[in-house]
């Protein structure tokens, strides 16, 4: 049932983008490791984690699109789920350092020794195992989203009020993680990682593998998201977005519908954070900053919300722009980002992908009108009708 669910009814453009991402998963590592340095095909070492970082952001934007684009929940706190996934991975990486830290304590990370702590806090146990950390990458953001959503959706908090409380959530976590007593390294966060699953985290091969894993998980998440939004459940989500009370009066439990997608989305954001940390080499409370979550909204809006591929494209383009821009005029980036957001809202309200799609839909409709005029439509059943035939036949 699950495979059937995953393989069914994707749009062509989704499959094309997923294939391109998978192609990058293979080609970028090859071009980095095998192509001789100086050749046109060679991808320099420093670009691999940079591109990996873009893909992590793309995954985060995809996660946001599930709730914002398809269910109308404008979360201004998705950075929190990303950061929690990142911290879970960071804790694993810290424990891999072992006695190689500055204080050479085999059990305690350096910052705990520095704070004069004698033993590992209970919530650090288990993080020496990769599988455990991996589980927490999903569970911690998922659980937070579930509990948060349970209360928010049940009490029917919507719109601006919901956005504000998601923002408050990430801000509260920012303050909490800044505190040394929390046991997550205070404002320095977690860093100086040595290896991951036994491999040197700085080695080009490791970085190439991390890139490939990121691309693979992004492609898988895209397919999963597409299967979700194109199912009947996905149609209910769009119903909730466009006419929440109509959905309720049809007998759907809107709060459960929202809760499920919010939790799935938070887990996806957690995976993005977990992939991000080994590639950038650090996680600190700054990742909880409210501004980070707002940036994700901008990437998603620029790419086109409610399209799945739009946010991926938006995240990559905007962050590529950020890399170029901040090298040239670092102090002006925030103004540029703000201007970009305003320009998108005014001139491309559906984002890049949404606008392109609208253009092609309008073209198709014109063609249909022309065809109708020639009286040919009756002879050829429309695509949608054919789709219903096949679905029913299965």
């Amino acid at each position: 049932m699950i495979t059937e669910f995953l393989l069914s009814r994707h749009e062509k453009k989704t499959l094309v983008v997923a294939a391109l991402i998978l192609l990058a998963a293979i080609l970028v590592p090859l071009a980095n490791l095998l192509a001789p340095e100086g050749s046109l095909l060679h991808v320099p070492d420093h670009l691999v984690p940079l591109m990996g970082k873009y893909l992590c952001y793309a995954l985060l934007a995809l996660a946001l699109d599930l709730v914002w684009g398809y269910c109308g929940i404008l979360s201004l706190g998705h950075g929190a789920f990303f950061a929690l996934g990142g911290y879970a991975m960071g804790m694993y990486l810290m424990r891999q350092i072992g006695p190689r830290g500055v204080y050479a304590n085999p059990l305690l990370p350096d910052f705990m020794v520095f704070l004069n702590w004698k033993e590992l806090p209970w919530y650090w146990t288990g993080f020496n195992h990769f599988w455990f950390a991996g589980l927490m990458v999903l569970l911690v953001p998922g659980l937070l989203a579930f509990v948060f959503g349970w209360f928010a959706f049940r009490s029917r908090v919507t719109g601006v009020y919901l956005s504000i409380i998601t923002q408050a959530m990430t801000y509260a976590l920012l303050l909490a993680f800044f505190r040394n007593e929390m046991g997550f390294g205070g404002n320095n966060g977690l860093t100086d990682f040595k290896d991951i699953l036994g491999a040197n985290i700085q080695a080009p091969e490791t970085r190439a593998t991390l890139f490939a894993m990121t691309a693979l998980l992004l492609a898988l998440s895209l397919i999963l998201s597409s299967a979700i939004v194109r199912s009947k459940y996905g149609k209910v989500l769009i119903g909730v977005r466009d006419a929440e009370s109509r959905t309720r009066f049809l007998g759907y439990r809107v709060e459960n519908m929202k809760l499920f997608i919010f939790t799935v989305s938070a887990m996806m954001a957690g995976i993005a954070g977990a992939l991000y940390v080994p590639q950038v080499g650090i996680i600190n409370p700054g990742e909880f900053a409210p501004a980070n979550s707002i940036e994700v909204v901008i990437w998603t809006a620029v790419g086109g919300r409610g399209t799945l591929i739009g946010p991926i494209i938006g995240a990559i383009l905007v962050n590529f722009g950020k890399t170029i821009f901040t090298a040239a005029f670092p102090e002006f980036w925030l103004f540029a980002l703000g201007a970009l957001f305003i320009a998108t809202t005014l001139f491309l309200p559906k984002g890049i992908v949404g606008t392109v799609m609208q253009g092609s839909k309008a073209r198709a409709e014109r063609q249909k009108a022309v065809a109708a005029e020639k009286g040919r439509t009756a002879a050829q059943p429309s695509q949608g009708a054919a789709a219903h035939e096949t679905q029913a036949a299965e």
Partner: protein, 250 residues
């Protein structure tokens, strides 16, 4: 719960509700029998829509009893539960899913399991497909099944919404101003459609269009200021001096 309180499909007794001190419903009582088609008229602000809000769980009454199908106390249930029990509602302002096709609108309304996982793994069966096609015929939207609901005319949206109600297979339909914005021809077709629907279930129609009410030819209840002013045949009600003073005469 198992002992029937009434034999009616819908039973309202002494229902009142206030908004910021304003009494929208004032000790409202009336009864709908199984299989009955009932028309409700009354001036703007009489409380007709509010009455539907109470029945469908959107608004809680301050006092009074609301029973469905004999013994089900509706004042303790929420919108989704009440919809699943078999009460469908058409809103005063037509509300359909504009960014879905006509087909998808009906598929979503279809009376099937409504949980997260049942909808996630739902496949359109031959039976469901036939059911949707049947409803498309009934509401005359077959030719447009793959168009987006946003592209329908106002009247067609009203029909689509009625189609969605049918897909829900409710025992009781509440229809709020179904012919607003319709041409005369569409209006009389709607009257026929509702009469047809009422053969198999109970229907409550709120309307201002007196010609339409006459076409229905059923028992009429006139509401004013949150309670029943008069009840009976259309001729009886429209000759009632209180009704003339409060509603028809204005």
């Amino acid at each position: 719960m198992d002992s029937k309180i009434t034999n009616s499909i819908l039973y309202l007794d002494n229902v009142s509700v206030s908004f910021d001190g304003f009494r929208a419903l004032n000790a409202l009582s009336f009864v709908i029998e199984p299989g009955e088609l009932r028309a409700i008229i009354g001036p703007n602000g009489a409380g007709k829509t509010t009455m539907m809000d109470i029945i469908t769980g959107k608004t809680r009454p301050d006092q009074g009893e609301v029973y469905f199908d004999g013994a089900i106390d509706l004042t303790r249930k929420d919108e989704a539960e009440i919809a699943q029990l078999g009460i469908g509602r058409k809103f005063q302002k037509p509300t359909v899913f504009e960014s879905h096709t006509i087909w998808d609108n009906l598929e979503l309304a279809l009376n099937r399991k409504r949980g997260v996982f049942s909808t996630l793994f739902y496949r359109l069966t031959t039976e469901d497909k036939a059911r949707i096609e049947h409803i498309l015929e009934t509401v005359r939207l077959t030719a447009r099944k793959n168009d987006y609901a946003a592209n329908l005319s106002h009247g067609q949206k009203q029909w689509l919404e009625i189609g969605m109600l049918l897909a829900q297979e409710p025992k009781l339909l509440l229809v709020d101003e179904p012919v607003a914005g319709m041409t005369d021809a569409e209006t009389s077709e709607t009257a026929l459609l509702l009469k047809d629907i009422a053969k198999t279930r109970s229907v409550v129609v709120v309307e201002h269009d007196m010609g339409f009410i006459r076409d229905l030819g059923v028992k009429v209840t006139c509401l004013a200021e949150g309670s029943v002013l008069a009840e009976g045949s259309i001729d009886f009600v429209s000759n009632d001096p209180k009704v003339i003073e409060n509603y028809l005469g204005r």
